[in-house]
C-alpha cells in the first residue's frame, strides 16, 4: 500500500543557508510520525512546506500516490487543503479574536462543502464534541478570549478537522499550553487517530511527548534526518550519537545532573 504522504529529497534554502538538505519522509495511513529536533533543525520549515506556506527548492512529494509540486504555490488546490490541515503552536495567535468559536468551524465546513447551510450549526457542534469541548452548546457562541489556552487549542484542532483531512500537521501543539493540561491534548490527538484514523505529523522538540503519541520517530538535525525508527526502538536503543545526546538531556530520563554536594540541605 502506498503511504498517505511520501516526500523525497526535500530541500530548502534561505539565501545561502541550506535549512533542509534532502529530507525523505513517509506518513502511513492512520500513522502518527513525530519529527523531533531542536531549534534551527528545520522541523518547522518542513511543516510549512508541507502546509504549502513555503515553497521548496527541490524535492518530490505525493499524497495518496498522486504527485504534487512542492516547488510551486500555484499547485495548491482546495482539494489539497481539504486533505492536509495544520495545527499551530500558539492557540492565542491562531484564532481570530472577533470570530466566535462557531464561526471558526462553519467557515471551513462551508468552504469545503462538508455541510449545508441548515446543517452547519449541528456539524459545528459535533466537531466541538469530538475534541472534548462538551457540552458543545456552551462553547459554540463564545469568543476565543473567554476560553483557556487548552480550550482554544481544542477549537484549533476542531477547525483543522472540519474539512475531514487525512493528515494533520501539528507543530508543537502543546508547548504553549499550561503543563497541567498538556497531556489532555496529547490524549485527544491519540484518540482522533484511534477513532477517526487521522494520520499525523507531529513536530516537536520534546522527545517525551513524541514517545507518548507517535508510532515512529524521525530525528532531525541541521536539516537532515539522522535517525528514524519505531518509537520504542529510537527511545530505548538510539543509534545516532545526536539522538543519544538528546535523550540524555531530557529531565528525569538520563543520568541525573551531578550535584557536588558539600553538606546536608538545611
Amino acid at each position: 500500500m502506498t503511504p498517505l504522504l511520501e516526500v523525497r529529497g526535500l530541500t530548502k534554502r534561505f539565501g545561502a543557508h541550506v535549512v533542509l538538505d534532502g529530507v525523505d519522509l513517509d506518513v502511513g495511513r492512520g500513522e502518527i510520525v513525530a519529527l523531533v529536533g531542536e531549534s534551527g533543525s528545520g522541523k518547522s520549515t518542513i511543516a510549512r512546506v508541507l502546509a504549502r506556506l513555503e515553497r521548496a527548492d527541490a524535492g518530490r512529494a505525493a499524497l495518496d500516490g498522486a504527485p504534487f509540486d512542492l516547488l510551486k504555490h500555484a499547485d495548491v488546490t482546495r482539494a489539497y487543503r481539504a486533505r492536509v490541515q495544520m495545527v499551530f503552536q500558539d492557540p492565542f495567535g491562531s484564532l481570530n479574536p472577533v470570530h466566535t468559536v462557531g464561526e471558526h468551524l462553519t467557515r471551513p465546513l462551508r468552504l469545503h462543502g462538508r455541510t449545508t447551510p441548515q446543517g452547519e450549526r449541528s456539524a459545528a457542534l459535533a466537531l466541538l464534541e469530538s475534541v472534548g469541548l462538551a457540552p458543545a452548546a456552551e462553547f459554540i457562541d463564545v469568543y476565543p478570549h473567554a476560553l483557556s489556552g487548552g480550550q482554544r487549542q481544542r477549537v484549533a484542532i476542531a477547525r483543522a478537522l472540519a474539512p475531514q483531512p487525512a493528515l494533520l500537521i501539528a507543530d508543537e501543539p502543546t508547548s504553549m499550553l499550561d503543563v497541567s493540561i498538556r497531556a489532555g491534548v496529547l490524549a485527544l490527538l491519540r484518540e482522533l487517530r484511534d477513532q477517526h484514523s487521522v494520520s499525523m505529523l507531529l513536530i516537536t522538540h520534546d522527545l517525551a511527548s513524541a514517545r507518548a503519541l507517535a508510532d515512529r520517530i524521525l530525528v532531525l538535525s541541521a536539516g537532515r534526518i539522522v535517525e528514524s525508527g519505531p518509537t520504542e526502538r529510537v527511545i530505548s536503543a538510539p543509534e545516532h550519537p545526536y539522538t543519544q545526546q538528546l535523550l540524555a538531556a531530557v529531565p528525569g530520563a538520563g543520568p541525573l545532573l551531578r550535584r557536588p554536594h558539600t553538606g546536608a540541605p538545611p
Binding site: E38, S39, S148, G149, G150, Q151, D178, V179, S180, I181, R182, A183, G184, V185, L186, A187, R190, H205, D206, L207, A208, S209, R211, A212, T231, I235, Q245, L246, L247, A248, A249, V250, P251, G252, A253, L256, L257, R258, R259, P260, H261, T262, G263, P265, P266
Partner: protein
C-alpha cells in the same frame, strides 16, 4: 539557622480599573543560605511576581498589599533606594528567561559587565579586566566573548553571559526565572550542570522558578508549588517525589510525559487554572480536585506544617489523603 530570605503572608495586587487583581495571596517562604529552592507553577500562578516582589522590582500597576519580606533580617519593604541598590545585584541577583532582552544590544558583553562592576565600586581598569576574564571562565566562555555584542552570541552563550553577570558581585541569592526555558535541552543541561558546580563551590542560594517540574526535581533541595497565587505545598524534593501531600502537586507530578514507564501514563489535571481576575472561592484548586467536598468550596485551607513531617508544609483540607495518611 537564620534564613537568608523570609517571606511572610505576602499579598500582591495589580490595580485595574475594573477592580484589583490579587496575584499573590498570603505567600510565606524561607530560603536558607546555600539552598536551592524550586518554585513550580503554571503561567499566571504568580511565580514571577514573587521574584519581582522579593527584589522590590514590581512596578505599577503591581503593588504589595500586605506581608513582610526580610533579607538577612532587614525589612525589604521599607528599604529606601540606596539600601535597595546596595542589596540588588550585590546580594540578590537575577537571571531572566530571555537573555536577549536582559542584555543591552548596543554594548559589548565586556562593557555591560564593566558597568555592573563600576556601579558597585570596582573602578580600576586592570581589576575590571581580570574580573571580566575570571567571570567568563566561570561560565565556560572565552575571554574574547567580552568584546562581542549580544547578537553575535548563541542563545546558550547569551544565557551563560547573564549568569556571569548575576555572579559578578558574589551574591548570596540568585533568582533564576525560567533561565533555560528558551534553550534547547542539551544546552539547558550543560548550563544547569555548570550552575550546580558553581553553586557548590561559591555557596550562593538559588530560587529556581520554572513550570518544568521534572527538571526542578533534579536540581532543588526543596520545591514549593504555587497555584493561582497561593502556595499548595513546600516539601524536600525527595519527599515530594515519594508522594505529594497536595492533590495539585500530585497531579503536576503525573502531568508530564516521560521516557520511562507506560507511554500514555501522563494524566492531565481536569479543567484549567483559573484567571487571577476570578479565582474560585475557598481552596483555589477545588474545582479541579477529585477530593474536594463542600468545605473546600467555602474555606481556604490554612498553610500549615505537616504534623507527620515538620520539614513539609501544605495547604489542603485533605492533605495526604491520597497517600492514606492523616494529618
Amino acid at each position: 539557622m537564620t534564613p537568608l530570605l523570609s517571606v511572610r503572608d505576602l499579598v500582591v495586587e495589580y490595580i485595574e480599573p475594573t477592580g484589583n487583581v490579587r496575584v499573590l495571596d498570603g505567600v510565606s517562604l524561607d530560603i536558607a543560605p546555600g539552598e536551592i529552592i524550586g518554585l513550580a507553577g503554571e503561567s499566571g500562578s504568580g511565580k514571577s511576581t514573587l521574584a519581582f516582589a522579593i527584589t522590590r522590582l514590581l512596578r505599577a500597576p503591581a503593588v504589595v498589599r500586605g506581608g513582610h519580606i526580610a533579607w538577612s533580617g532587614r525589612d525589604v519593604l521599607s528599604m529606601d533606594e540606596p539600601a535597595l541598590r546596595a542589596m540588588r545585584w550585590a546580594e540578590v541577583s537575577m537571571v531572566f528567561q530571555s537573555a536577549m532582552d536582559a542584555l543591552n544590544p548596543v554594548l559589548t558583553i565586556g562593557a555591560q559587565l564593566d558597568d555592573t562592576l563600576r556601579a558597585h565600586g570596582v573602578t580600576d581598569r586592570a581589576a575590571l579586566d581580570s574580573r571580566g576574564r575570571a567571570l567568563m571562565a566561570l561560565v565556560d566562555l572565552q575571554p574574547e566573548h567580552l568584546g562581542r555584542y549580544p547578537h553575535e552570541l548563541s542563545g546558550g552563550m547569551r544565557q551563560r553571559a547573564c549568569i556571569a553577570f548575576a555572579l559578578a558581585l558574589q551574591p548570596q541569592l540568585v533568582i533564576m526565572d525560567e533561565p533555560t526555558t528558551a534553550l534547547d535541552v542539551v544546552v539547558q543541561r550543560d548550563i544547569l550542570q555548570r550552575v550546580l558546580e558553581l553553586q557548590a563551590r561559591l555557596g550562593f542560594a538559588v530560587l529556581f522558578i520554572s513550570h518544568d517540574l521534572p527538571l526542578m526535581l533534579e536540581l532543588a533541595d526543596r520545591v514549593a508549588v504555587l497555584y493561582a497565587g497561593r502556595l499548595c505545598e513546600l516539601s524536600p524534593t525527595a519527599a515530594l517525589q515519594r508522594g505529594a501531600l497536595h492533590p495539585y502537586a500530585r497531579g503536576l507530578l503525573h502531568a508530564f510525559p516521560t521516557l520511562l514507564g507506560p507511554r500514555d501514563a501522563a494524566r492531565a489535571i481536569d479543567g484549567a487554572p483559573p484567571s487571577p481576575r476570578s479565582p474560585p472561592p475557598g481552596c483555589r484548586f477545588h474545582p479541579r480536585c477529585g477530593l474536594a467536598d463542600a468545605r473546600c468550596g467555602l474555606e481556604a485551607p490554612p498553610w500549615v506544617t505537616w504534623p507527620a513531617d515538620p520539614t513539609r508544609q501544605v495547604a489542603c483540607h485533605h492533605a495526604g489523603a491520597l497517600e492514606g495518611g492523616t494529618p
